[in-house]
Point group: C2
Chain length 303, copies 2
């Protein structure tokens, strides 16, 4: 497995010199002085114990050994260059890997993704929905969209939008026996809970307290592991969901959900776009970030 190779820089110097049959031109190609090439080639010959050039006064020739050596080395360096180019290209044009909070993926990003495809047909997006925050130093993602407090050390963080939290329900519920006219009417309905562990996350408890509503048992109601499920249940008229504006804006627009009463609660969580430092200017990352902000700027997703 262990390879046995002469010094690589000497090989490069020799290859260039052999190709040009000139140390001076090789020096030009490699941006060094002629003396450097002379040293490298001599060193290589000494290491190999084989002379590679016949040196005439104003002319170089390759020895038999040199003639055998050069083309293969040239090929090897070409291969390396091609591999580097290919890898760089892949990095630029390969799928953009975005890690997204689960529900945000389902309720915000996916419905809008076709618009991105229209705008940037050359960029394939790979959406990786995940519950937990991804460690960019470990995982091979180009960027992420996360709800949180904006503390992502070691990453470039851009605030995409602040979110509001308010109750939503199916319009059917408004037509039923107990239309939701005031928060107090919630007692006639099932509360749909987002079963998120994080305590900072706004939940019915917070909201009811802020709205000054009493007499509603928190423990009651349906629980779901993801916001998207909660929202779906609400659309299906199973109860009332407390949710972020960003996740339901399209459902509200489409009339699948309604916002029965006003009180919106400001969340201390917001939506952030994150990417490893130094990658922000990569074309595909920039394109996606720009698109995200444009989408939000349209007013359809942000408060």
């Amino acid at each position: 497995m262990g390879r046995r190779l002469p010094p690589l820089n000497a090989l490069r110097a020799f290859e260039a010199a052999a190709r040009h049959l000139s140390f001076t031109k090789a020096a030009g190609e490699l941006n060094v002085t002629q003396a450097a090439i002379s040293h490298q080639v001599k060193g290589l010959e000494d290491i190999l114990g084989i002379s590679l050039f016949r040196r005439f006064n104003r002319r170089l020739m390759l020895t038999d050994a040199g003639q055998i050596y050069q083309p293969a080395l040239g090929e090897a360096f070409d291969l390396m260059e091609a591999a580097t180019r290919r890898m760089r290209l892949e990095e630029q044009t390969g799928p953009l890997k975005v890690t997204v909070a689960n529900s945000f993926a389902a309720k915000w990003l996916l419905p809008r993704l076709p618009a991105f495809r229209d705008r940037e047909p050359d960029i394939d997006v790979m959406v990786a929905a995940a519950d937990s925050v991804v460690d960019f130093t470990r995982d091979d993602f180009d960027m992420g969209i996360r709800f949180g407090l904006g503390r992502y050390p070691g990453l470039r963080v851009d605030l995409l939008f602040d979110d509001e939290v308010f109750p939503v329900c199916s319009p059917k519920l408004m037509e039923g026996p107990h239309p939701l006219l005031t928060p107090a009417d919630l007692k006639y309905h099932t509360l749909l809970h987002d079963d998120v562990g994080a305590s900072e996350f706004p939940h019915w408890g917070n909201w009811l307290e802020k709205s000054g509503v009493r007499g509603i048992r928190l423990g009651r109601g349906q629980r779901y592991s993801h916001s998207s499920l909660v929202i779906q249940a609400a659309i299906d008229a199973q109860g009332v969901a407390l949710t972020r504006s960003s996740l339901v804006d399209l459902d509200l627009e489409a009339g699948r959900l309604v916002r029965p009463f006003g009180p919106a609660m400001r969340s201390n969580y917001a939506c952030y776009v994150v990417s490893p430092h130094g990658t922000a200017d990569k074309p595909k990352i920039k394109a996606f970030r720009d698109w995200l902000f444009d989408e939000v700027g349209k007013g359809s997703g942000a408060k």
Copy 2:
């Protein structure tokens, strides 16, 4: 024409690390410390602006970019290694290029070469007969056999044998009207001259003087450009040649020539085997040199 490549040592370090999926093992392979690999890989990633590994705690993974990069780099390094091996092999087993003084080639080496072929069937000898001394730093020769004073700066020089100079002629001349019984009898015969420019070379003038013979006009006689032609003329009974023992030993043995009278003159010229410093131990060079000395040791070629 100019290639654009990341630092080659970093590429090698990355390739090894990627192959082993371990910096430590890569370090082992390249005989450096793990820290060196870590530095090189990090440096490469910084230069490319692309991360190549995902680093887990006791495990490495390649990023997409790394996965594209490694195989091609591996191939490139394999190519280099193969080229090096191939070139070395050619150097070892390719034809042994020997530059030989013209007449020595014709009269000593060529008749004996079949014996070398028998002894070392794997070594092909390329005999380049030349009049002038070859500059090994310029010309692609493995070794040389030369008559001279043994001053070959920058080369390893081995004395193959000392030579004597004496007159020879065809046995037919001994049966003619003026058999060569003493040097004085030379006046009845044509002197065959070796038309060599070098004044140190023993010629009839020297020999006649040493032998105390007078009254023979030096200007007379036939002139030839090479000793081998002089000898051939002598074999053809065209006259008497003054020649080196080494060039005629086989002809004397075979009875094509005889040595009419004693006085041999010591030449200050001798026969030397030369080869560039540091190449003496190369198998094919050593084999040929050993064979030369064995041939001479047989007593057939040396005094």
